[in-house]
């Protein structure tokens, strides 16, 4: 069938089963937007900044596992989108981002709103394309969706010049992708797996070190089964929160810079570290040569470059995590496996000695209390998104996560401004369920994409933003206090808008709360009214995120909370 390039884009999205697209129109992408106007197969959400379009698509992808889609125009439209692309790249989130480009005849002449988009997106995408000929467009779109969602997922950027979207050609959407140069390894090496299983059988203190790959390959329940069947304790990275279920007796918390005492001690003492889709990020390992220094390492990852990038594993296994964990479960049937109950007991002792805690107050809301309280009120009904900073760490530490994809945070890139658009994507993805999309944010981060309140109001996307407001750029303030002799350089955010009036001006619900009773009432009211809301929580100003492993230190060298009673 003959059609324009613009129609091809819309048709391809339809054939890929896309239901929601986030985006923002502009000159070079107008032909595509004209076709969007004429179609009914997918809904388009008009964000108020391109960065938010990409992040909303990420939220959608993180909540569902499907590929998120965003469309932006050339030049500034595209450059605004770059932070979102980089964010998705660092956290391996499947996205297809389509940008308009000036006509091929203008490319290279510094035309209006021209920028070398593929030149910019190359280091922050899994792959990118500049469409030079209309004949290539169907194949490129098909490949983009294939590459984004297979292997180690990631964002794919397709830059389409305006004359290509206007040109007419035959359209046949390919059924399959044939890329001789792209064949991700799904199946693990059987010999290696056998060796690894023998190591597990003979270990004394094995530890499951679970990363974001467990979410991406949808194998949380297989990992729980593995832990329970072999009685192996587990810890999670920031990206893996929700995999184990915090109530699981074999789960010992998040590890890393702000990890729980038991989790960090587990990593310090283990004699066999079983890495499941994790990548030894510096925020996890602390001082690298001390990380799990008593352990052999099994490293399972779909991306060969993750293996032996930072640590040299004794048992490297390249493969899809779900496939591999299933094989581990099966292989364990034929093995006599050590009893690890003493090891599990030891970790329970650690947890009892030094549980994750904070010192509560009757006069002021502690930010940790607020997170915990949301957990008590909403529990598994809420999907939690965050921005970046202290509130993010408190959310990771104190929210009682119980299932995968309940947690949506910017881990790798650490993008302030992520929370609101991401929570919007989550809410859109789960609009037909009883889930509540909550964005736990800070008074610094929320202002970085505040314009999205308009989007939420326009489409009635009921995101509940909970600002843990300490009038500081809190995480930087904490570092300044700890490592810069309390010189608070440019971190005092006392000058800020009236958030209640602000959200009301946008057309949403506003609350300011400073007592626990008001907090409860605000959450309940916002959940009930199912409207975009913002709850400005006045919290204790100088609270630190603890435990903390100072930069360059080993995980067992934690700064712990002192004072108060252990709960």
């Amino acid at each position: 069938m003959k059609m324009t390039g613009a129609k091809m884009v819309v048709e391809a999205l339809h054939q890929e089963g896309v239901e929601t697209v986030f985006g923002y129109p502009g000159g070079a992408i107008m032909n595509v937007y004209d076709e969007i106007y004429k179609q009914t197969n997918f809904k388009h959400i008009l964000n108020r900044h391109e960065q938010s379009s990409i992040i909303a698509a990420e939220g959608y992808a993180r909540a569902t596992g499907k590929t998120g889609v965003a469309i932006v125009t050339s030049g500034p439209g595209f450059t605004n989108a770059v932070t979102g692309l980089a964010d998705a790249y660092m956290d391996s989130i499947p996205l297809v981002v389509i940008s308009g480009q000036v006509p091929t005849t203008i490319i290279g002449t510094d035309g209006f709103q021209e920028i070398d988009a593929v030149g910019i997106s190359r280091p922050c995408t899994k792959h990118n394309y500049l469409v030079n000929r209309i004949e290539d467009l169907p194949k490129i779109l098909k490949e983009a969706f294939h590459i984004a969602s297979t292997g180690r997922p990631g964002p794919v950027h397709v830059d389409i010049p305006k004359d290509i979207t206007a040109e007419v050609a035959d359209f046949e959407y390919p059924k399959e992708v044939d890329l001789p140069t792209y064949k991700p390894t799904v199946n693990y090496n059987k010999k290696q797996l056998k060796k690894a299983m023998n190591a597990i059988a003979n270990a004394k203190k094995p530890l499951l070190y679970i990363g974001g790959g467990a979410i991406l390959s949808n194998c949380a329940y297989e990992i729980r089964e593995l832990a329970e069947k072999l009685n192996i304790p587990a810890v999670e990275t920031l990206m893996a929160r929700g995999v184990m279920d915090d109530k699981n007796p074999l789960f010992f918390g998040m590890l890393g810079m702000h990890g729980e005492y038991a989790a960090n001690m587990a990593a310090y003492e283990t004699d066999l570290l079983i890495s499941l889709g994790a990548r030894f990020d510096d925020r996890v390992t602390g001082r690298l040569d001390e990380f799990a220094s008593k352990a052999e390492v099994i490293h399972i990852d779909i991306d060969p470059t993750s293996i032996a990038k930072l640590v040299r594993p004794d048992y490297p296994i390249v493969g899809d995590l779900k496939v591999t964990v299933k094989a581990m479960l099966e292989a364990s049937n034929d093995l006599e496996i050590n009893d690890f109950s003493n090891w599990v007991e030891l970790l329970r002792d650690y947890r009892e000695q030094e549980p994750l805690r904070f010192i509560d107050s009757d006069t002021v809301i502690k930010p940790q209390w607020a997170v915990k309280r949301i957990g008590e009120l909403l529990d598994d009904k809420a999907i939690i998104s965050t921005d970046v900073g202290q509130h993010q760490m408190w959310a990771a530490q104190f929210y009682p996560f119980s299932f995968p994809r309940q947690w949506c945070t910017s881990g790798g890139l650490g993008t302030m401004g992520f929370g609101l658009p991401a929570a919007m994507g989550v809410a859109k993805a789960l609009e037909d369920t009883d889930k509540v999309s909550v964005n736990i944010t800070g008074d610094g981060s929320i202002l970085m994409n505040i314009q999205e309140l308009t989007t939420c109001v326009e489409y009635n996307i009921p995101v509940i933003n909970v600002i843990l407001n300490n009038n500081y750029l809190g995480m930087v303030r904490q570092w300044q206090t700890m490592f810069y002799e309390n010189r608070l350089s440019e971190t005092d955010l006392s000058s800020q808008p009236d958030f209640v009036k602000l959200v009301e001006a946008f057309g949403g619900l506003g609350y300011r709360v400073s007592t626990k009773e008001e907090f409860d009432a605000a959450i309940k009211d916002a959940v009930e009214k199912k409207k975009p809301a913002m709850i400005d929580v006045v919290v204790a100003r100088n609270e630190d995120v603890l435990p903390m492993v100072p930069n360059g230190h080993a995980l067992n060298e934690m700064t712990l909370l002192t004072g108060g009673d252990n709960e």
């Binding site: 593929v118 030149g119 190359r122 280091p123 899994k126 792959h127 990118n128 500049l130 030079n132 590459i147 890329l179 001789p180 140069t181 792209y182 570290l273 690298l288 040569d289 990380f291 799990a292 220094s293 008593k294 352990a295 052999e296 390492v297 991306d303 060969p304 470059t305 032996a308 990038k309 930072l310 640590v311 040299r312 594993p313 004794d314």
Partner: protein, 165 residues
């Protein structure tokens, strides 16, 4: 756990890598960008299409610790348009140099030395003479060093091409 500091000797090695890539827009910038983004060295890079196919061969000479070289190979393999990456162990390497001299030099000396490096005179004008030599990389470097005494006006090297024995 094994930390790299203890594992590999941190000696720098030189590695010749050939990369078979799809002939497409942007592919060279992907390869070069990968090296610069991750702080890897490129000592030499040559590219030419492979006859009768949709692929090109890039020959890259790099230096680094073994750990870095392993990562380079894996990172190259991860790029979508890369078909194959060969880490060469036993190769014939050739490098070509073009050198231009003033004709005021002793031309017979230039000719003799050039021939000793498997080279020859390519062109002579009223003012200048151009010689070319093709040989292994370290011999070419020697050749350039030796020829310095004739005050070369211009030196152009091709970069290295390599083939497994």
């Amino acid at each position: 756990m094994n930390n790299f500091n203890h594992y590999y000797d941190s000696e720098t090695t030189r590695q010749v890598i050939s990369v078979i890539v799809m002939n497409e827009h942007n592919v060279l910038s992907r390869i070069v960008g990968l090296f610069s983004a991750r702080g890897y060295n490129i000592d030499s890079l040559t590219v030419a299409p492979i006859e009768g196919s949709q692929y090109s061969r890039m020959t890259i000479v790099t230096t680094g610790e073994q750990r870095v070289i392993d990562q380079i190979v894996k990172q190259l393999n991860k790029l979508i348009p890369v078909l194959k990456v060969n880490e060469h162990k036993n190769v014939i390497e050739k490098d070509t140099v073009l050198m231009k001299f003033s004709v005021d030099n002793n031309l017979s000396d230039i000719d003799v030395i050039t021939r000793a490096y498997h080279g020859s005179i390519q062109n002579v004008t009223d003012d200048t003479i151009v010689v070319a030599a093709t040989d292994s990389s370290h011999r070419i470097m020697n050749f350039i060093k030796v020829m310095q005494k004739f005050n070369p006006l211009e030196v152009v090297r091709s970069g290295i091409v390599a083939m497994e024995r």
